[in-house]
């Protein structure tokens, strides 16, 4: 009895557990039996060389692609996540690499894409007539809260800079991500100043009650913003470390395979 309780407590601290995740494309093992544990309230970095399987891992966890094998536990309970909608339903909000916004629609419409607010009357309920006023207001409030300075929220997303677009994408995780934000290379293709802006936003996700998984190539970002780091190489998990126990050089060694290491 007592033992069970302790076990339960330990489990509760892991908000997300992905066990034995594999994804095979024909003969290619893009992902091979990878375990991922995300603790409540932490920022977990996922690092690895190009093609290591980082994006595949994210997509396999959120149901964006089908898994060859693997199970997912949320708050210690096994959950079915077979589509991005399933992931959103349990409170996981994801910013996919290169697939964050639709260029052709406005900022407000991007924020609410797939989760539009309909008018609270017969038109809304029967015909799905949208409440743009409410969505605009919520978007403005959200940007104000996060100090994102975009006034032209009715403008097509394509008019904005990479940093602004990434800020918009990240803000969605605050608005909708009830528990977990997963970010696939949030600073890729951003300049130094924009990169800093984006990372400040990432850091603030914690304050909004989110646990974070962040894929990055930037070791400085791992050191400065993350609690733990997991390293993927050629589709396999090669190491999991507390950030305070590693330095940049060690990580680079793990990523390239220069120094062999057992999974911690």
């Amino acid at each position: 009895m007592e033992k069970n309780e302790i076990k339960h407590l330990q489990k509760a601290k892991n908000i997300l557990e992905a066990r034995g995740i594999s994804k095979h494309y024909g003969g290619i093992k893009a992902l091979d039996d990878v375990d991922l544990v995300l603790r409540d309230g932490e920022v977990l970095a996922v690092v690895g060389d190009n093609g290591a399987g980082k994006s595949t891992l994210v997509k396999a966890i959120t149901g964006a692609i089908s898994r060859t094998s693997g199970t997912i536990l949320f708050d210690g309970e096994e959950v079915r996540i077979d589509s991005p909608t399933d992931a959103k339903a349990v409170g996981i909000e994801t910013v996919y690499q290169d697939l964050a916004l639709v260029n052709e629609i406005s900022i407000t419409k991007n924020i609410f894409l797939g989760r539009e607010i309909v008018k609270d009357n017969i038109l809304g309920r029967v015909f799905g007539v949208l409440d743009f006023k409410k969505m605009d207001t919520e978007t403005r409030d959200l940007f104000k809260k996060l100090d994102i300075r975009i006034a032209d929220i009715y403008r097509d997303a394509q008019a904005f800079s990479g940093g602004q677009r990434q800020a918009v994408a990240l803000s969605k995780t605050v608005l909708f991500g009830k528990r977990i934000a997963i970010l696939d290379e949030p600073t890729a293709a951003l300049g130094v100043r924009e990169s800093k802006m984006a990372m400040d936003l990432v850091a603030s996700l914690k304050d909004h009650g989110l646990s974070v998984i962040m894929i990055t190539h930037n070791m400085q970002h791992v050191m400065n913003y993350c609690d733990r780091v997991m390293v993927l190489r050629l589709g396999r998990l090669v190491a999991v470390r507390d950030v305070k126990d590693v330095d940049g050089d060690t990580l680079v060694g793990l990523i390239t395979g220069a120094n062999k290491s057992k999974v911690a």
Partner: protein, 336 residues
């Protein structure tokens, strides 16, 4: 002719970075933006009209203007449906044949079964919508591209219409049915009504808004939780419904139905959509533009006819304009 890239020419400088949101300008700017896009096509239409007005004395006549609207309206209704499908990144080559099937079905309902007009109309609309749904379902289930599925529909539905019509005399409809499509006024009213409804659908409703998202970037839309397959089926249903509406008006106007009607209408519709400035690549466009695009096409046809230019040359002119419009669209995308 087509709308210029409003925001692509200056990608970095355009967004304002003010920290004080000015909520009062919200809808104004959006509306202004819409208007700016449409007025250029409108200006092109007026310009083309003026050219014929100057060049051809018989063109300077209110009846000419009315006949342009009259010829445009039935095709424009069909093209409104095509607009929805193209914005969603789809393609429907079968609407001309859906048009034929619906014409024949309504003809049979009226002439052979002597059903009341409203019943015949409802059956016609239902058949068009079902054939549209079939286009969508086949694509979604099999994954065969829109081009192939609706090309199959183009010939298959046509054959279907021929089988239904064979050995039947589909004419002499009741007077209450003839009211729908005769004269200029009714078709025009129905055209503007259809455009208004589809315009509201596209801009105000959830499913309508998803047209732009799916056509813009299907994968982002999917990852955002948009139900792609279901939405697509609805868009093809709208295409079928609009083809049916157009067919009913034409049968009423001609007072007979035959399976040869509707030939090439899908191409006229696509041409009008593209000339109006809706992107052939999906994600952008609107029905207002399509109406203007259709008026441009008909103005050129009627104008050239008044100047004694034969239909062959008219076809060449329209062909050139289509290529020009798509070139405009392509170069706009490249500049982004």
């Amino acid at each position: 002719m087509t709308n210029t890239p409003k925001n692509s020419s200056t990608p970095n400088s355009s967004p304002t970075m003010t920290s004080t949101p000015n909520s009062s300008s919200t809808n104004w700017d959006a509306m202004k933006h819409q208007f700016m896009q449409i007025w250029q096509v409108l200006a092109a239409l007026v310009l083309i009209y003026m050219v014929f007005f100057i060049l051809s004395p018989p063109f300077r006549n209110i009846d000419t203007l009315l006949s342009i609207f009259g010829q445009a309206s039935i095709l424009a209704i069909l093209a409104c449906g095509t607009t929805v499908v193209l914005i969603s990144g789809g393609l429907d080559l079968s609407v001309g044949s859906i048009f034929a099937v619906v014409g024949v079905v309504v003809g049979i309902a009226l002439a052979e079964y002597e059903l009341p007009v409203y019943a015949a109309v409802l059956i016609g609309l239902a058949v068009g919508t079902l054939l549209g749904a079939f286009n969508g379902i086949v694509q979604v289930v099999t994954g065969v591209p829109a081009f192939i599925v609706t090309l199959g529909g183009l010939t298959a539905y046509k054959g279907f219409a021929e089988i239904l019509a064979s050995g039947r005399d589909l004419s002499r409809f009741p007077d209450s049915f003839k009211v729908l499509g005769s004269g200029y006024l009714m078709p025009m009213i129905i055209m503007f009504g259809a455009a208004l409804i589809i315009g509201l659908f596209l801009t105000k409703t959830r499913l309508g808004n998803h047209t732009f998202a799916i056509g813009g970037n299907e994968e982002v839309a999917r990852l955002s939780g948009v139900k792609i397959a279901k939405s697509r089926i609805y868009y093809y249903m709208i295409g079928g419904l609009m083809a049916a509406t157009a067919a009913i008006l034409e049968v009423s106007k001609l007072n007979f139905a035959m399976p040869a009607r509707g030939q090439s209408y899908e191409l006229f519709a696509i041409a009008a959509v593209v000339i109006g400035g809706t992107s052939l690549f999906g994600g952008r466009g609107g029905v207002g533009k399509t109406i203007i695009g259709m008026l441009i096409m008909q103005t050129i046809n009627v104008g050239l006819a008044y100047m004694g230019v034969g239909t062959s040359v008219q076809r060449i002119a329209i062909g050139a304009i289509i290529i020009l419009a798509v070139y405009w669209d392509v170069s706009r995308r490249r500049s982004r």
